[in-house]
């Protein structure tokens, strides 16, 4: 029988995992919409407006799911983790407060103008609203990642009578792991949105959509991915080095290094066994882990056995490999598509198929990465200050069990509905024109659909 702690952890993980799917798409999709709208405003080419109109529908659906699951998140602290706010509320409170004040209202209000206001405000104000929505989502990421990073690498505080008090807000916000985590996450969002757009556009093209708009969107998505993925690999490496410095046990678990050793091999595959404290079936490259982590093939890496407590090994070991593996797939798909697009060739069906399969690859990579970093902080909720077990509520476990079941059921249904609806929207767009809802004066100048200016062959 699971106790309140386990159930609350599963419930929090389920809530945050479900929630993060939607902002991960929308942080970057907001900026991509701004780009589409701006391209249209400058070039006056209808194809950009059509791309905008198609993607803004998906943006609004994604946003709705993000909002409702986000409201749920704001209750989780109080319902399940009262010890968190009681101990570190003086730090967490203002950071969350600034997120609400500077981001939530901004994005929610201007989203209304962005979605419904196109006939009521000038095009400039509309483009500006799109910009503000994108800015709002990014600001939201800024504050929440500041808080999350502080939980990993706390700074700028003092403890009096077991309660944390702020001493320096600059140090709190720009704590050691924050810059890496923020950039890593923003790039992850960019990649998620890039493959999301490429995948759905590839689906439309493969199903026989003759229009330019999906091809323009595909090119945007693929180019974005091709540029971001090397950056992400580089930033991921920096993030790893920073983690080695601040949370060495996490790195040891990721690499499944049990004994401290020099010239540590990079384990490509293995089954780590925490009880016997060794790995089985391992396939590894000698010295590679040392080279990657210390930039010296003879570098020393501290093993798990040296730490008093360390996070569970298996989720970190496998989660990390899933994330990196998907990153490699992203590299291959985006660059292969890019080469063909640069040469002006249409993408072959096989590659379109591949991009379709990669549609939600960003989600899986992002979740895997977050599991690595969050499970990697255990047994701490706030490193060195508060243990997860000490923060949990005293609500009886059967109550948490009921709510967990209700959340899981709701979230599964919503996820199915979301993906199903994406399919419906994509299918419908193959035969239906995007600008049907434009006011007549626009519709006239936009009457040609299969115009071949610009983007595709």
């Amino acid at each position: 029988m699971l106790d309140t702690l386990d159930l609350s952890r599963i419930q929090f993980a389920a809530n945050i995992s479900f929630h993060i799917l939607f902002p991960t798409i929308n942080i970057a999709l907001g900026w991509i919409l701004f780009y589409f709208k701006l391209r249209h405003d400058i070039s006056k080419k209808p194809v950009w407006m059509r791309s905008y109109r198609f993607w803004v529908k998906i943006f609004s659906l994604t946003f709705a799911l993000g909002v409702v699951s986000g409201i749920t998140m704001s209750f989780q602290f109080g319902t399940n983790w009262p010890g968190f706010m009681e101990t570190v509320g003086n730090i967490a409170g203002p950071l969350l407060g600034y997120e609400v004040l500077t981001a939530f209202f901004l994005e929610a209000t201007f989203l209304g103008i962005m979605l419904f206001g196109i006939n009521r405000v000038s095009s400039t104000v509309h483009t500006l609203s799109t910009f503000i929505v994108a800015l709002g989502t990014t600001l939201s990421a800024f504050w929440i990642l500041a808080l999350n990073s502080w939980m990993h690498t706390p700074a700028g505080f003092e403890i009096r009578d077991g309660v944390v008090y702020a001493t320096n807000w600059w140090d709190i916000i720009f704590n050691p792991s924050f810059p890496y985590r923020l950039i890593h996450m923003l790039l992850a969002s960019g990649l998620t949105a890039a493959f999301f757009i490429s995948g759905i556009s590839a689906y439309r093209i493969r199903k026989g959509d003759p229009k330019i708009a999906p091809r323009a969107a595909l090119k945007t998505g693929v180019s974005l991915a091709a540029v971001l993925i090397p950056l992400q690999i580089y930033v991921g490496d920096l993030h790893g080095l920073d983690t080695l410095k601040n949370q060495p046990a996490k790195i040891a678990a990721i690499e499944a290094v049990w004994e401290t050793e020099k010239s540590t091999p990079l384990i490509l595959f293995a089954i780590p066994d925490e009880e016997r404290r060794t790995n089985f079936f391992d396939v590894s490259i000698p010295g590679m882990a040392s080279l990657i982590l210390t930039h010296d093939i003879k570098g020393e890496i501290k093993g798990l056995n040296e730490f008093e407590t360390h996070p569970p090994v298996k989720p970190l070991f496998f989660g990390f490999r899933i994330m990196v593996g998907l990153g490699m797939c992203m590299l291959i798909f985006s660059w292969a598509s890019m080469v063909l697009l640069i040469r002006g060739r249409p993408l072959p069906n096989l590659l379109l198929r591949g991009l379709e399969i990669m549609t939600f690859s960003g989600w899986i990579a992002t979740l895997a990465g977050w599991y690595v970093t969050e499970v990697g902080r255990q047994p701490w909720l706030v490193t060195g200050i508060l243990r997860t077990a000490d923060a949990v509520t005293s609500v009886p476990s059967n109550h948490v069990g009921i709510t967990l079941a209700a959340y899981l059921l709701t979230y599964s249904l919503l996820l199915v509905a979301y993906i199903h609806t994406l399919r419906v929207i994509a299918k419908r767009s193959i035969t239906v024109e995007e600008f049907e809802t434009l006011p007549p004066k626009f519709a006239e100048e936009y009457h040609t659909n299969l115009d071949s200016r610009g983007l595709t062959k």
């Binding site: 409201i71 109080g78 706010m85 407060g97 206001g117 609806t421 419906v424």
Partner: protein
């Protein structure tokens, strides 16, 4: 007076503002959901009703995050107690909010066969949200007492709040719609106004009967002469609304905003009445704002931002209401 004394008062005022604005704004859009007609031939009505709240609902719900956030941030101890006591109803409310929030978007985008399903979920989610909020209000006001009387009181409060949301939703629709739907909305407004009146009167009576402290606060001279103006004006607003609604809609749709404003006034006075009954307790009979407040330095750090940002939020919210003024039938999605 020291900062440690003043800051919690400022933050409880911000919290009060957030709760009041939430109940008005999400109140009307929940109300529209509660009134949602589900029969086949009403699809046009449903589309118009959705269009009337489309640009706003998202920002409206953000006030709930702000209200809960302010308690979480400024009064963490109270937040823990409240959400511990309300664990199950709060979760039910969240599930209701999730249902209606997504139904809103899915209904327009999912396959046509599913539209009616999402419409049903939208109505169900709105009702569940309103009922659980009313229930939680009842539990909160009774200081989370167990027992039959407290439960009955909470259930009455659940119905009262649902009627109140339906009423403000109906008056919103009087303002935002025309023709046959506007006439129907007027009828809805009249019915729900009376139920709301009974609900508020009942809550006031039970509250005074159960809590001697609340009784003495309201009926001690000489203050009573002034504070009793609150229920008195509230009663006058009820009578005025009840009378006016018989003649709505007026010729050429004059004063179509007046019923909405009157109901807003009733919400405001009821809220002030509640706040006056319990201040400075953040949990009635258990905990004051000072006992549960966060560290002064943290509150100060947040206050700088709040002072700058809250007026900006109010300004762009007003901007958005100005952009989307007028009848909803003219509103097109995208």
């Amino acid at each position: 007076m020291s900062e440690a004394h003043i800051l919690p008062i400022i933050f409880v005022a911000i919290m009060g503002l957030a709760i009041l604005v939430y109940s008005l704004l999400d109140g009307y859009d929940l109300g529209v959901g509660i009134l949602f007609p589900l029969s086949q031939q009403r699809e046009q009505n449903r589309d118009t009703m959705i269009a009337s709240i489309g640009p706003f609902w998202d920002a409206n719900e953000t006030w709930l995050v702000m209200a809960v956030g302010t308690i979480l941030i400024a009064f963490p101890k109270a937040h823990s107690v409240i959400l511990f006591e309300l664990y199950i109803p709060a979760t039910i409310m969240l599930l209701g909010l999730i249902m209606r929030g997504v139904a809103f978007d899915f209904r327009a985008k999912a396959a046509v066969d599913f539209k009616l399903l999402w419409d049903r979920l939208f109505k169900l989610g709105s009702i569940v949200t309103a009922l659980s909020q009313g229930y939680m209000l009842g539990k909160y006001v009774t200081g989370f007492q167990a027992g039959l009387i407290a439960e009955l009181f909470s259930l009455a409060s659940a119905l009262g709040v649902t009627a109140a949301y339906a009423c403000i939703g109906a008056t919103w629709l009087i303002m935002k719609t025309e023709g046959e739907l506007q006439k129907r909305s007027t009828y809805w407004a009249r019915v729900t106004l009376n139920i709301m009146f009974l609900g508020i009167a009942f809550v006031c009576a039970v509250n005074i009967w159960l809590n001697p402290q609340v009784f003495s606060r309201w009926f001690d001279f000489p203050l009573a002469m002034f504070v009793l103006l609150i229920p008195l004006i509230c009663l006058l607003l009820f009578i005025a609304a009840n009378y006016l609604l018989r003649y709505y809609p007026l010729d050429q749709d004059r004063l179509n905003y007046l019923p909405f404003l009157l109901v807003c006034g009733i919400f405001l006075l009821s809220f002030v009445g509640l706040a006056f009954s319990y201040f400075p307790h953040i949990i009635p009979g258990q905990m004051t704002i000072w006992q549960s407040a966060s560290d002064t330095a943290s509150l100060k750090f947040l206050l700088y931002g709040a002072v700058v940002v809250i007026p900006v939020i109010i300004a762009y919210t007003a901007f958005s209401y100005i952009i989307f003024r007028g009848k909803a039938s003219e509103l097109k999605y995208y």
